[in-house]
Structure formats: C-alpha cells, structure tokens
Symmetry: C2
DNA sequence: CTTGAAGCTACAGTAGCTAGAGACATTAGA
DNA sequence: TCTAATGTCTCTAGCTACTGTAGCTTCAAG
C-alpha cells in the first residue's frame, strides 16, 4: 500500500492532481488509513500510470474515462478503444503539420531579425501580414494547441 | 470602419473573442457608433490579425502583449522581440519532438488492435505498461501541450 | 518527545475562451 | 415605411485540467 506521495512519484503525477482525479471520478475513491490518509494498491498505480500516459498522448480526460471503462469490462470488441485511438492519431497528425509550418515561419522571423531596431524587424510584420504567412486559413480558435 | 462581426470575419477571430481581448486589455477600447456598437479601423484589423497569427504560432496572450507593446514603440533594438520569438521556437521544437514520438506509439496501438476483443488488445496495455512506452520521463503535467 | 515532512479539506485562481439571457441597433425586403 | 431577421450590446456563468493557498492533522525519524 502506497501513500499518495509515493503513488504520485511512482506514476509521475502530482499529488493535487491525483486528488483532483479522484474528485472528478476518474479514479475511484481511495481506501483510507486509520488516520484518514489515502492508501493505494499496485492496481491503482497501474490505473494512474495509464491515465498519465494517455494524457501525454493528448487524450482528454473524457476519452480516458471511456478507455478506462472499456478496460473495466474487457469482454467486448476493442473497436471502441481503437476508434478513440484513431481519432487521437488524426488530431496529432494535424497538430504536427501545423507545428511544422509554424516552425518554418518562426525560423524565418528569427533569421530576419538580425540585431536591427524593431522598425526594421520583421518579427512583427510577419505576424500581421497574412501574405507573408505560411499558415493556412483554418478556423482561428483551433490555434490553441492542446 | 468595420463592425465587430466584419472585423472578426476579416481577421478570422470570433466576435466574443474580440470582446474578450478588449476586456483583458489586449486590444484598446474600440470607438463606438451612435448606437453604441464597436467600430474598427484598418489599423485595428492589422492588430487583431497580428494577435491571431501570434496565437496560431503558440504565443501566450502575455507574450503577445509584450510583442504589441514593442511594436508600439519601435525605436528600440529588436532583441526583445527576437528573444520572445526564439523562446517560442524552442517550445515548438519540443512539442514537435514529443508529438512525433506520440504518433509512433499511437500508430503501434492502432496497428495492434486489429479487431480483437479488449482483453487481447494492447491499446490499453501500451498505455499502462511503461516499458512499452516510447515517451520520455519528463514531468507529467507537461503533457498538456499549450 | 519533538520536529519536520507529508497528508487532509476546502476554496480560489489560472488561461483562453465559449455560451446563454435579455435588450437594443441595423439592414434587407415587401 | 413597416417588419422581420440578423447583428450587437452587457452581464454572468461555465468550460478543461489543473495549481496554489490556508489552516489543520498525521506520521516517521532522531
């Protein structure tokens, strides 16, 4: 049995985050010690590790909730889990493409700004002049890459 | 002079977002028509377009605020703007690397889940078994790629 | 037995929007 | 010119995924 601190260390998740996950029902309520402290089993560690990795892969907590409930009753075809993973993969590919083109643009910006004054510097110009801009014309708020 | 809706369309930013930007002081307060509706000049459009592109490049609103204030008094060396852009570039390169490795892993997951049942499917296993995992051991919460 | 770290609850705050309610303004068509 | 539709106004609340604070209790080491 692990205390919350050890669990957090083992899984690579901060203690308040674990409590938050419990609070929103992503993790089951933990057993408690005589002194009311949370105690975790190895199984709980696996579950939390799963959550952490899924988060790193960019899954939302909702998607993770789905995956966990799938894994809790494993006598079903795994098409559902597969669909979630595939959707995630598509998302990641989109982000990769965007980041790659953004990188090109930022590189150009930095290269052009070679110690001049701002008036001569194109860092800002590149960002306000659309014709100089390699990015596509997608919907704007899609810009918040998370 | 543009109404807020036209401005939003021209810049590719949603109307409530423009009002939000004004509210937090990222954009100056707009002129008003006789009927109290916001009116925007071409300069305002440039500024908003700048903000939009900067957001797409992953700059935080705080960084954008800095860049805007730099561009508002351009008689300084552009080292500061350059530094902001360079920091951003480093960020983007980190994200690119992570997303690339995540993509490999997700691809593997999807490939392994070829119509079996969840019990035989490694989508979930891959995510709970650290030894199968290609991602690094960074700090977990860094997972939210903003 | 004491001290300091780690745990507890509860609540507030963060970024960057997004959505809804209810009222007023503007514009296009009959 | 009237009307209906659309656009805009303010305000408030909500969202995700945490993070931080305050003020307390519990636990392990020396």
């Amino acid at each position: 049995m692990l205390t919350i601190g050890k669990l957090g260390q083992a899984a690579g998740v901060k203690v308040p985050t674990i409590r938050y996950y419990e609070q929103i029902g992503l993790l089951p309520e933990a057993e408690r010690s005589a002194g009311n402290q949370r105690l975790y089993s190895r199984k709980a560690l696996d579950r939390l590790t799963f959550v952490r990795h899924a988060r790193e892969l960019g899954f939302t907590l909702d998607a993770i909730r789905d995956l966990l409930s799938l894994s809790d009753n494993p006598d079903q075809p795994c098409a559902a889990a597969d669909a979630i993973a595939k959707a995630q993969l598509a998302e990641i590919e989109k982000r990769l493409a965007r980041l790659a083109s953004l990188k090109v643009e930022l590189n150009r910006m930095v290269a052009q700004c070679a110690g001049g004054r701002i008036a001569d510097c194109r860092v800002i110009e590149v960002l306000s002049n659309h014709s100089l801009c390699a990015t596509d014309h997608r919907h704007p708020q899609a810009g918040n890459d998370h």
